[in-house]
């Protein structure tokens, strides 16, 4: 056994401490999270991380040997001043040596393959436990739709948008979340590094992945396959809540929209202008499917797929001209009057 300070895990952690220290996290709520692939908090991500440490050990060893040889050759065999200008001895090759540096890599390949295959099967072919939550994620240009069916902690099916909530899992009572990945338009990719590597959302080609987050918090990621103009702002937020908080959230999401007579003017604008052609507000006549579901818009922390905080000012500015925040996004500026915008904003703010 190597001394503790020489263990690869420790060295890797130290090496990346530099990068980690540079990263600042503006998110105040919840425990500190990040987007690093070397700080896993769920089982598949941890398995990948442990495999990666082993790979770093092997490649590190190869690097030390070969780079060491190269350095030695450069220093030892460089032409020196005052040389007699004669040619060095000509050596044309050696079958024994060739054999040695063919067989050793073959052995390394065998080890690498077997180790890797074990992790592939462990993650991809893991049986789904009874207690698992199943969510369907649909990628859209440039936002995320999450469909929750009725099961377990979810009393009634509903659709959530951009902010994925999942229950906390634990080693004794695993409650993993299985995510089915679909796309409504082009290829996207679901990547929250601390939870799992990325899997693509491909039209006509359903995929799935699973996560079992072991610490509560808000985990960040983003679309990882180029999907159009605003690919960069197709951000992912995964809320890992205690089972009680998750159940409460799900119960609220399942309810139809709040009906508040004091904002009837805004609702009228929403339902008579083009808004309802693209957006759903459950329990009203708005049933458009092209844009995000707004039934519980006010319960979300962010707007525009995680791009900006969900404040009144941002919401109002967004409705006035989405392009100002997200140039090239598919929501048009509807040319409403200032009064209409205020009314719609008032209405949307009641949709808790």
């Amino acid at each position: 056994m190597l001394p503790k300070w020489l263990r690869v895990e420790r060295i890797v952690r130290l090496a990346f401490a530099f990068a980690l220290a540079l990263s600042s996290h503006a998110l105040a709520e919840g425990p500190q999270t990040n987007t690093h692939i070397l700080s896993p908090v769920s089982t598949p991500a941890t398995q990948i991380y442990q495999l990666s440490l082993f790979i770093i050990e092997i490649t590190g060893a190869i690097f030390v040997v070969v780079a060491g040889l190269l350095t030695f050759v450069i220093i030892r065999f460089r032409e020196r001043s005052g040389d007699d200008q004669s040619e060095p001895a000509q050596v044309y090759g050696s079958n024994q040596v060739e054999l040695a540096w063919t067989v050793i890599p073959v052995l390394i390949v065998v080890v690498l393959f077997l180790t890797t295959a074990r992790v592939i099967f462990a993650i991809q072919d893991a049986p789904m436990p009874q207690a698992a939550l199943e969510v369907t994620s649909v990628g859209h240009q440039f936002w995320w739709e999450y469909r929750y069916p009725k099961q377990g902690l979810v009393g009634q099916d509903f659709v959530a948008v951009n902010e994925l909530h999942v229950p906390l899992s634990s080693a004794d009572h695993p409650t993993p979340t299985y995510i089915k990945l679909l796309s409504a338009d082009v290829v996207h990719s679901f990547w929250v590094p601390q939870l799992m590597g990325k899997i693509d959302l491909i039209p006509n080609h359903p995929n799935d992945m699973w996560i079992d987050p072991l610490q509560p918090g808000i985990y960040l990621g983003q679309c990882a396959q180029f999907c159009g103009v605003q690919h960069a702002n197709m951000l992912l937020r995964v809320y890992v809540d205690s089972p009680e908080r998750f159940a409460a959230w799900a119960a609220n999401q399942a309810r139809p929209a709040v009906q508040d007579p004091s904002v009837a003017a805004g609702r009228h604008v929403f339902e008579t202008q083009a808004c309802m052609n693209c957006h759903v507000v459950r329990g009203t006549v708005a049933t458009g499917r092209f844009g995000p579901d707004l039934t519980h818009l006010a319960s979300r922390d962010t707007l525009a797929s995680g791009m900006i905080p969900n404040t009144r000012d941002n919401l109002r500015a967004w409705i006035k001209n989405p392009d100002a925040f997200k140039p090239g996004c598919l929501m048009p500026a509807m040319q409403l009057t200032d009064e209409q915008i205020d009314q719609v904003t008032n209405y949307l703010e009641t949709l808790k």
């Binding site: 540079l22 990040n34 092997i58 032409e79 060095p88 690498l112 992790v119 693509d200 491909i202 140039p327």
Partner: protein, 563 residues
Amino acid sequence: MADQTLPIHGALDLTPPRESQHTLLDILHDWVITVDHKKLGLMYMMMAIFFLLVAGAEAICIRIQLAVPNNHFISPQTFNRLFTMHGTTMVFLVGMPLVFAWANYIVPLQIGARDMAFPRLNAFSFWLTFLGGIFLYYSFIGGPGLYGTGSAPDVTWWAYAPLTAKAFSPGHATDYWALALIVTGFGTIGGGINIMATVLSMRCKGMTLMRMPLFTWLMFVNGAFVLIVITPLTAAQVMLLIDRYLGGHFFDTQAGGSATVWMHFFWIFGHPEVYVLVFPAFAIASEVIQVFSRKAIFGYPAMVAAVVGIAFVSLGVWAHHMFTIGMTSAGNAFFVLSTSLVGIPTGIKIFNWLATMWGGKIRFATPMLFCTAFLFQFLCAGLTGIMLSVAPWDWQLHSSYFVIAHFHYVLVGAIVFNVFAGIYYWFPKATGRMMSETLGKWHFWLFFIGFHVTFDTMHFVGFEGMPRWIYTYPADRGWQHLNLVVSIGGVIQAIAVLLFAYNLIWSLFKGKIAGNDPWDAWTLEWATSSPPPIYNFATDPVVRSRRPLWDLKHPEDPDWKYD
């Protein structure tokens, strides 16, 4: 030392030339109609350097935009066009022309031929490639078409379906992209056939296949290789255009087409393409390392076998670019195995180059500096390649900046470094003048430092979870510090490349007269004058070993004794 014996007796036709043409128009006309392999080689080279500067400028715009978070230097639309054009240009208008630049100029000289097997096909191939470049860049002004959207393709150089369908990519930008790749593809196929035919039928007396210089061997394998590699790409482009204009549904997912079929077509081209681009780099290293270590290449048969092995295995690894598309676990495992197998012949090559240097007297002139850096960087690129071949880890690393760092280590750290090595090495042969060593060393060290500042740092940006293709990023991710470092490195590299361009022009007019064999080298191209006459060799040379000029210079210890 050995110069009195060169050019070899009878190599030059000493009849005085006819009255030469002097007007600019005459000279231009001469270049446009030429079928001479050397002129075409230089034209390929000039085209590659021109587009290298263009695509480099695009990269600098990208790096300025990403230097700080929430930057507004360029719009998202422009950013997406720039990285698409940067990738497409570097691969098809820089990398591919470079393959044929080297093959055209060097191969006939090295095998003692007077030209390529099909000189007219050669000229045709060049002009097709050039036309493809014009198509691609015409999209900047011709792209908007009837719809008023887009100019220049903005679908990444993978152009994944269905983003390229009419519904998501209106206008003509994607059409120009597809057309450019079809046209350059045909140019490439013409070039590939030509190299194969030349090597198989034009070798001078005594030059058996196993006496060919390794450079020629690599180019020969590459010529055959591109025929296999380019065809699926061309087929896919034709299918894409059928989808876009004739109502086909190959990739149109809204009508039941398949997005993954495009991925397979693209990557069964795309992965071997990396080797198409890197073989010339191997070829240059195999010459430069021998000559500047003053030793014959170690393990010549193993080197030839390794290159054939790499070409063969690389045709079965394409889906390691697709570990994230949801293949079965067995499918993923298969491509992990096939991909890691590539490491074995690649390792053999690195070890043989090291063994060639071992026991030599290494002269660190500029070409050798670049080749030594290549060895180091190619080693690193191979090791990060192993990391990426591990499918589960690839789920994390795929499409992150780690991948960008990895393949720039190959494309810049290996290919561009060796292209510079090759230019410093053969410039005296092509022009008759040496390039400035002082400027060359400045160029090397600046480029080396800039390269490592940029691309070493970029690996860590990937570990921090930054994906590629994003035009900006929020400040709360903590990516800004390393990104700024990456951008600074980019600027250092740009300065180094401008220094190189200056060196080229300065040396062309003011460089020291080179003589026929300035590096005391061993292959046939150094046996004729610098620059070589249009007919290369007045009488056909006869060779008895892999290093004919070594035999000539060392009659007491010739190679053919050991053959």
